[in-house]
């Protein structure tokens, strides 16, 4: 290979562009939905429009809508909008059909900060379900809104919320490619890499600090690893031939990648810092799209060793593989759920490419998305939603669907094509 390894290892600084210049505007739009959603009224917080640049409660409502388990009660017809539990006329909300009620206020605090207080009240029992108070600089209010949505989600469903997590995707505009990281609702989008050549297959490290991805900037596919906080990056796999399909091991120490140095696309393990790869598969057929089980013991992957592409599972140390998919002639892009019990993937059905869900240990798969063209599904870290891209009218858009396919939400991209999305891990540093 080019004796450039040391050079490529030299860390390059990639600027983190601020949200303003490089924002992919998205709006949440509910496309389908279950009838048994929890009815919640989220009331405007006192002074949220005067003390904050952007009001909080639209973000909270958007998040709850996105989860697919809430139904928003219209508050515009109610004359008395309380800001504190003491001011609630529960009868108003009972007749409006609300099961719970989120109220709150924004007040000024020392040092230019604001204090955001909120309570979630149960309408039938007239008691507080959860609540909190946050003192932050005003510009962090959007994160507080996501935290409030997480608290509401957890109080109602018993599951950890995912509204403070982030997603990564490639935004293609004409011949320009941007690797972007955004809030799960599309807000605060940051461009972390810009290129005139394709970028694909971004993969999160389990701590959310690093992304691995494939960039064609050197006129061939090379796997890069980039530190999101500093923008520094290095080539993790830059061998003769093509380098692709990075997937981070759950412990963060290893990348599964696809290399072609043997003359066919095979799966290898390599350090995120680069170095000597260790070969895992020896099929001679195509082996690609490795994806780790959450406990790190197994790797799912795609192979056409039996003819068309099918999904297989092997130990993360390599060895014999078990075929998992038996329906359809084209099954690709597997991703294991956070509890390790099922996996999502894409199946070709006629001319359509559908998002599927299958229990590990079962041969039966069910359709999550009826849209004609979808790619690369991934789970939210709580397992409660599946993110995927879908081609419609020549453009790609992002969807988040519940794993049973009963409800889905559209993250509509106003300008550009969204490709290869991946849902990030829980983000505790945010």
């Amino acid at each position: 290979m080019l004796s450039s390894k040391s050079l490529f290892r030299t860390a390059l600084v990639v600027l983190l562009l601020l949200a303003t210049g490089a924002r992919a505007e998205m709006t949440v739009e509910i496309v389908g939905g279950g009838a048994d959603r929890h009815a919640i009224a989220v009331l405007p917080f006192k002074d949220e429009t005067t003390r904050l640049h952007d009001a909080l409660t639209p973000v909270v409502k958007n998040d709850l809508n996105l989860s697919g388990v809430f139904r928003m009660i219209d508050t515009s017809g109610v004359a008395n909008l309380p800001f504190t539990p003491a001011g609630i006329h529960y009868g108003d909300w009972k007749s409006a059909g609300a099961q719970s009620l989120a109220i709150g206020s924004v007040s000024s605090a020392a040092g230019g900060k604001v204090t955001i207080s909120f309570s979630l009240m149960d309408v039938a029992q007239k008691k507080q379900l959860t609540g909190g108070s946050f003192t932050v600089p005003p510009e962090r209010s959007r994160q507080v809104a996501h935290t409030i949505a997480d608290m509401i989600f957890e109080a109602i469903t018993g599951q950890k919320g995912i509204f403070n997590t982030r997603i990564v995707y490639v935004l293609k505009r004409g011949s320009s490619y941007q690797l972007q990281v955004a809030d799960v609702d599309g807000g605060r989008a940051q461009t972390i890499l810009r290129s005139k050549e394709p970028i694909m297959s971004p993969s999160w490290s389990s701590d959310g600090r690093y992304l691995a991805y494939v960039s064609f900037e050197s006129r061939k596919p090379v796997v890069w690893v980039q530190d999101l906080a500093t923008g520094r990056r290095n080539a993790a796999a830059n061998f003769k031939g093509s380098n692709s399909a990075p997937s981070w091991s759950p412990d963060g120490r290893t990348l599964a990648v696809v290399l072609t140095t043997s003359g066919s696309s095979q799966i290898y393990l390599v350090s995120p810092n680069g170095g000597v790869p260790r070969r895992l598969t020896y099929s001679g057929a195509i082996d690609t799209e490795p994806s780790w089980s959450p406990d790190g013991s197994q790797i799912l992957f795609v192979s056409d060793r039996s003819g068309g592409p099918q999904i297989y599972r092997m130990a993360a140390s390599g060895g014999a593989a078990t075929r998992l998919t038996w329906q359809g002639s084209y099954n690709v892009s597997p991703r294991v759920s956070p509890d390790g019990k099922r996996f999502t993937f894409i199946q070709r059905q006629g001319g359509a490419f559908r998002v599927m869900m299958q229990d590990i240990g079962s041969a039966d798969a069910r359709v999550i998305s009826q849209d004609p063209y979808n790619e690369r599904p991934s789970f939210a870290p709580n397992g409660g939603m599946v993110l995927y891209a879908s081609l419609q009218g020549g453009r790609s858009v992002l969807y988040a669907a519940t794993p049973d396919g009963g409800s889905k939400v559209k993250l509509a991209v106003i300008d550009g094509e969204v490709q290869d999305p991946a849902w990030g891990p829980y983000n505790n540093s945010n």
């Binding site: 030299t10 390059l12 066919s264």
Partner: protein, 179 residues
Amino acid sequence: MNLKPLLIATVTATLLAACSSTKPETSANLTGANQAGSATTTVPGATTGSQNQAGAGADAALNDPNSPLAKRSVFFAFDSNVVKSEYKPTVAAHAEFLKANANHKVVIQGNTDARGSREYNLALGQRRAESVKQAMQVLGVPEQQLEAVSFGKEKPRANGNSEADYAQNRRDDIVYDGQ
């Protein structure tokens, strides 16, 4: 690896592009765009300059539009990586040229039509590129002069969705010396 001056010039230019991006590491206006942009714009210029160092006769053949070497693409049937007989003369012409000109090197870039998984398509394009690479090796071209890479479905020549468009994109391109 015995890289000839021409190749070194090309590689060096590419690396210099990377270096020049690396240098102002503290500069706030350095972005991935600069880095990628410099790589894509610098390489062709470097090649043009360095071609003077190669044999004039060889270059003439390479640049002659009437030479069999002017054909640089090999097209494939749907879901196939078999080099069709109509493209074997093209592959053979390039193989003969490479054997006679050990200072030249080619990258064979495999491509696929726009259906299905990006990564699986990358692997399918790789398989097509490997077919032409292997055909050239069978004809006696040393492995060091050949690299098979794939663009998958990411860099289509035809952007439409007709069968004719797809057929255009099921293709290998033979690219000399980083051109």
